[in-house]
């Protein structure tokens, strides 16, 4: 093993593990890309680094400057790890409805947390960050939802890693958050292996969001539109909390992968696809590990109580 000069050198090149024992169809392999192996613990380390490097390159960032970003946690944690190393101050607009662990990790890295109303979900955090960035032009607003470095990071790293490791991939499944993973990896795979199908999964987050005045307050990430999301994706499906939890627990129990709840959602989506195929090889993204969700009670006890415990917690 090499000795690395910085923790940032550990971002990317994550392992893929065969979890076909969980496939409902013996003709279809299911493989998990373990993004929890990144040093900040999630897939978002990749885009955090890419957005910082791009802003350094174009001269936006200099030592001592303040960065502001809305995040339900993982992008914030990735940025926090990098900003601490490179001398940038970081403010994260964090919905109150995230787990206490996400908040604690940000605090550990010395981030200033600005809370946005939990009832407005991530949309509320985006809106507040935009407003604060407008009021403070001296701050740098990386805005992951519209930052081209986000999908580009996946186009340049995650996509090639997957195709190198799994040349016989037929389907790719990932969660839809900023859409960066799906747009970047999806574009790379379709350009280099056009037969690959790309599927998005998402939680029914909008069902419970109380703070929306109307559906006009909805949000589609600019990255999704710019990268032609409607044409790129072959399908998009909701995975309900009960399914997400059931498949997350199976991932832990039957494959030994201590994965976060959105990983279970992606696996649930993969299993649905597997049922409809004769044969194939599905790669799904396990975005992070279970560590930051333990306080929800998701991993033990009855599923009904776990669903209750999850409540309105944002886990994508």
């Amino acid at each position: 093993m090499a000795v690395y000069s910085s923790v940032l050198d550990l971002i990317g090149r994550t392992p893929i593990v065969d979890v076909s024992q969980l496939s409902p169809n013996p003709g279809v392999r299911i493989l998990a890309k373990l993004e929890g192996a990144n040093p900040g613990g999630s897939v978002k380390d990749r885009i955090a680094l890419a957005m910082i490097l791009a802003a350094e390159k174009d001269g936006t960032l200099r030592r001592g400057i303040t960065i502001i970003e809305p995040s339900s946690g993982n992008t914030g944690i990735g940025l926090a790890m990098i900003c601490r190393q490179r001398g940038y101050k970081l403010k994260i607009v964090l919905p109150q409805s995230v787990t206490v662990e996400r908040r604690q990790v940000l605090e550990a890295y010395g981030v200033e947390i600005i809370s946005s109303p939990g009832g407005e979900g991530s949309n509320g955090a985006v809106r507040l960050a935009q407003q604060l960035a407008d009021e403070h032009p001296e701050w740098v607003f990386l805005y992951q939802y519209a930052n081209n470095a986000n999908p580009t990071a996946h186009y340049e790293t995650t996509g090639p890693e997957i195709l190198d490791d799994v040349p016989d991939i037929t389907h790719f499944v990932a969660g839809l958050g900023t859409s960066g993973t799906l747009m970047g990896v999806g574009s790379y795979l379709k350009q280099n292996k056009p037969a690959v199908k790309v599927y998005a999964v998402e939680p029914p987050a909008g069902e419970q969001v109380q703070g929306l005045r109307s559906l006009h307050d909805g949000f589609v990430p600019p990255v999704f539109d710019k990268w032609g999301g409607i044409e790129l994706l072959d399908g998009k499906r909701i995975v309900r909390p009960s399914e997400s939890l059931t498949w997350t627990r199976r991932l832990v129990a039957e494959a030994g992968i201590f994965a976060g709840i959105s990983s279970g959602a992606a696996l649930a989506g993969s299993a649905k696809i597997a049922e409809q195929l004769d044969e194939g090889t599905i790669v799904f993204v396990s975005s992070d590990g279970a560590w930051k969700y333990l306080s929800t009670g998701a991993y033990s006890g009855s599923i009904d109580e776990a669903i209750e415990g999850l409540g309105n917690v944002i886990y994508f």
Partner: protein, 92 residues
């Protein structure tokens, strides 16, 4: 003509007397949406734009599949299917 259950998000429930879901008849999602609007006219401006298309920030699902990747409003529905309407929200 099929009868399906339409599941509504919190933000739209006041328009349907607080119900979580309502039963509507129709052979396609478009017919179901029309039926829903004729029962609860205040939903119209929330769901469709002036050209009759589903609004950009509205996602409609049949049995949890987004109809934008099926046959859109022409997507067929069968008895017992569940149609869900949700606002588009951010993640990340």
């Amino acid at each position: 003509m099929s009868t399906v259950s339409v599941r509504l998000p919190t933000v739209l429930r006041p328009a349907v007397n607080g119900q979580t879901s309502v039963e509507v008849a129709g052979a396609t999602v478009g017919e179901v949406v029309d039926g829903l609007i004729s029962k609860y006219p205040s939903l119209e401006s929330n769901l469709v734009d002036d050209d009759g298309h589903v609004r950009k920030f509205v996602n409609v699902y049949v049995n949890d599949e987004d109809i934008r990747f099926l046959a859109q409003l022409a997507t067929a529905v069968a008895d017992g299917d569940e149609v869900a309407i949700l606002p588009a929200v951010a993640g990340g």
